[in-house]
């Protein structure tokens, strides 16, 4: 029982980790928690569905198509809405992201309706490997691996590529970055594109399990946000670890303490973390940018 709860927790935790990563990447540059994140990945997942099922392209083609769409969507939203905001404070930016959320939700409902759909995925959730008393499905393994690979790629990107370093510079100090010749606006667009793509991956991995409809990311977004708060909104590694931790804690709580209150755990964690360590468990120190 324990092992199974942990395995399921890690597998769902990977999805929370992806959502948390997507949130943190944007938060670090734009300083806004993007509440449109969930709907952005939901819409990208629908694009994958349209390419795969409606237009019967191959999975790889559809997957890449959805990622490109996600990137374009991220750039579009940042360029058309966020950048236009005059003297934005955080609250107005949050409101803009909530606006995205409603807009994209409406768009998906209008285009695809409310019927539940099945997104075919090349890896099955029903074929399993037995690990003693517990099982893990191929889809779970794929989810965990893809998340790890993505995280590793992000690490390499921020550590070794020029663009990645420029992005970090922009995150730390926009003015200084601009003075040093970094085109910060482009960097901003790029962060939105990256974040949106990571979100899309989470959506595509979740849809085969949870069925695809406009509400796909409702729950994972909240959990991803909780994970990011838990791990620290300013650290990529922390946010990802927060995702895994949340998945496992939630499942153990449901398994051993109370199923009724399982879904409240995430919110309890937000409250506790904000009370005792507002920067998150893994953030080294809380620096307010001036």
């Amino acid at each position: 029982m324990f092992l199974q709860l942990v395995i399921s927790g890690i597998s769902f935790g990977s999805l929370y980790a992806l959502v948390a990563l997507a949130m943190v990447i944007i938060y670090k540059t734009s300083e806004v928690p993007n509440f449109g994140q969930g709907e952005m990945s939901m819409l990208s997942t629908f694009v994958a569905y349209a390419l795969l099922v409606t237009h019967s392209h191959s999975f790889i083609f559809s997957f890449i198509g959805a990622l490109l769409f996600a990137a374009a969507l991220g750039i579009f939203l940042e360029f058309v809405f966020l950048r236009r905001a005059k003297d934005p404070n955080i609250l107005s930016l949050i409101l803009i992201t909530l606006g995205f959320q409603m807009m994209l939700y409406g768009l998906a409902s209008w285009k695809w309706g409310a019927d539940q759909r099945d997104l075919p995925f090349p890896v099955s959730d029903f074929d399993v490997i037995n690990l003693g008393t517990a099982v893990i499905s191929y889809l779970n393994i794929a989810t965990i691996l893809i998340t790890l690979v993505l995280m590793f790629m992000l690490f390499l990107f921020f550590k070794y590529t020029k663009v990645g370093i420029a992005m970090k510079a922009t995150q730390q100090n926009v003015m200084a970055a601009r003075i040093n010749g970094i085109r910060t606006n482009r960097i901003l667009s790029l962060t939105w594109a990256m974040s949106s793509m990571i979100g899309a991956v989470a959506g595509i991995l979740l849809a085969p399990i949870a069925t695809l409809d406009p509400n796909l990311m409702l729950d994972p977004l909240l959990k991803g946000f909780a994970a990011a708060v838990l791990g620290g909104m300013t650290t990529l590694v922390g946010a990802a670890l927060g995702g895994y931790m949340l998945g496992v804690i939630e499942n153990l709580f449901g398994g051993y303490i109370s199923l009724e209150f399982k879904s409240v755990v995430a919110f309890g964690i937000i409250v506790l973390v904000l009370c005792f360590k507002p920067s998150g468990l893994f953030a080294k120190h809380y620096v307010r940018k001036v």
Binding site: S8, W110, D118, T211, E250
Partner: protein, 403 residues
């Protein structure tokens, strides 16, 4: 002089009131040429799947109008999208009653949405037939203007329990439900049906509406080792739990409420796991040779070709069949009071659902459902006749709401 003015004013007032009296006496929502009927239904938002009910009713009314209407009057239908949000339902009820002056409300998806306007409609004496939810809120206690056609969730659950034990020889039944009125009324129905047989549920597990990871739930169910699990969920979780169970090698007989009786959709989103799942249903199978079903299907092809011919679409026909019948029985001289009398006179009326009867103090039309089974490729197989439920609804209400 002042007195004279006063007299003139009184005379004017009397004359003016004479002008307005005929209008006040005329029945709200009924004119020489039309009967105005409204419905709310989620066309967007989390419950939009059931928006088909309201469109089905519209299609039904189109069909009736094309046949010449009811006693020379056409039905003018007002469909409003409330997005499954009770505050919006309230605004819609107010708009349709006070502004559009409708005669009656037809169906309307949702318990929470319906509850938000129940009192208001009663106060304004608006007849309301066939709320699209099987909770006990509508007919218990009975109120004058509200008639329910959806078999109660607790009745459905008891029918499934009896079928599992008496027909299929199942011995250990577990219940997996959504933690709200819908799930709980199903749960208590199952409990009571089992108690009558001197048995008990081996596990009762609940889930919150938004939960996407159901592995802990599934393990709780599996630990009780049931040979039959009855699900009282929404389609999304209904699909997730089947997937999770298949992954964990947990293979009981699955059963579900009528909410998940759209086998074509369920089969697809469960990647075929829905095959051999049993469920209750309140209206004929989609491919039924029943003459009314064929007629309704033609109407759908004609008036709503974009809609899918699924259970929720033609539920919109079923829920209001008694309403149309009562409107016909009222004759040309239609008033709300007369309509209520006609509704109360409906006995053993049958359209595409079970037999429906109302009475002066009886507002729940039926307790019967039939059992269906999902066949190959998501085919809807009807495997039983209409079966009434014999549990005491009052006990369910006592357990659920302590009243």
């Amino acid at each position: 002089m002042k007195k004279k003015n006063w007299i003139i004013m009184v005379v004017c007032a009397v004359l003016m009131s004479l002008v307005f009296i005929p209008a006040a006496l005329a029945e709200r929502g009924v004119t020489d040429t039309e009967i105005r009927i409204g419905q709310w239904g989620p066309q967007t938002g989390p419950a939009a799947l059931w928006g088909a009910v309201a469109r089905g009713t519209g299609c039904y009314f189109n069909m009736i109008n094309a046949e010449g209407g009811i006693h020379g009057r056409k039905i003018k239908y007002f469909l409003r999208d409330d997005g499954y949000m009770p505050p919006r339902t309230k605004a819609i009820a107010k708009e349709l009653v006070e502004d559009k002056k409708i005669f009656a409300f037809a169906s309307g998806v949702g318990s929470a949405t319906g509850m938000a306007v129940k009192k208001y409609l009663h106060k304004n004496k608006v007849p309301w037939v066939g709320p699209a939810a099987g909770s006990t809120h509508w007919a218990y206690p009975p109120t004058k203007y509200l008639f329910a056609t959806y078999p109660l969730y607790c009745n459905e659950a008891s029918i499934l329990v009896n079928y599992a034990i008496k027909k299929m020889g199942k011995k250990k039944i577990a219940f997996f439900y959504q933690n709200d009125d819908y799930g709980k009324e199903g749960l208590y129905g199952a409990q009571l049906a089992l108690e009558k047989l001197g048995m008990k549920l081996v596990a009762e597990v609940s889930a919150e509406v938004l939960d996407t990871d159901l592995s802990a739930h599934c393990m709780k169910l599996k630990a009780a080792n049931p040979d039959c699990v009855i699900n009282w969920l929404l389609p999304k979780q209904g699909a997730i739990i089947l997937g999770t169970a298949a992954k964990m090698g947990f293979k009981p007989q699955w059963m579900t409420s009528s909410t998940l009786s759209d086998t074509a959709v369920m089969f697809k989103i469960t990647k075929g796991l829905y095959k051999d799942v049993y469920y209750t249903c309140f209206a004929e199978a989609p491919d039924s040779p029943h003459p009314l079903m064929r007629k309704y299907k033609e109407a759908q092809e004609k008036y709503a070709p974009k809609d899918r011919w699924g259970i929720f679409f033609y539920a919109g026909f079923y829920f209001v069949e008694p309403m149309v019948e009562a409107l016909k029985r009222c004759g040309r001289d239609l008033t709300a009071e007369k309509f209520i009398k006609a509704m109360e006179g409906i006995k053993d009326f049958q359209g595409i659902g079970p037999k429906i009867s109302y009475g002066p103090n009886k507002r729940q039309g039926t307790s019967a459902s039939f059992v269906g089974k999902c066949g190959d490729g998501g085919k809807f197989l009807r495997i039983s006749d209409w079966m009434p439920s014999d549990i005491n609804v009052k006990q369910v209400i006592k357990r659920a709401y302590n009243r």
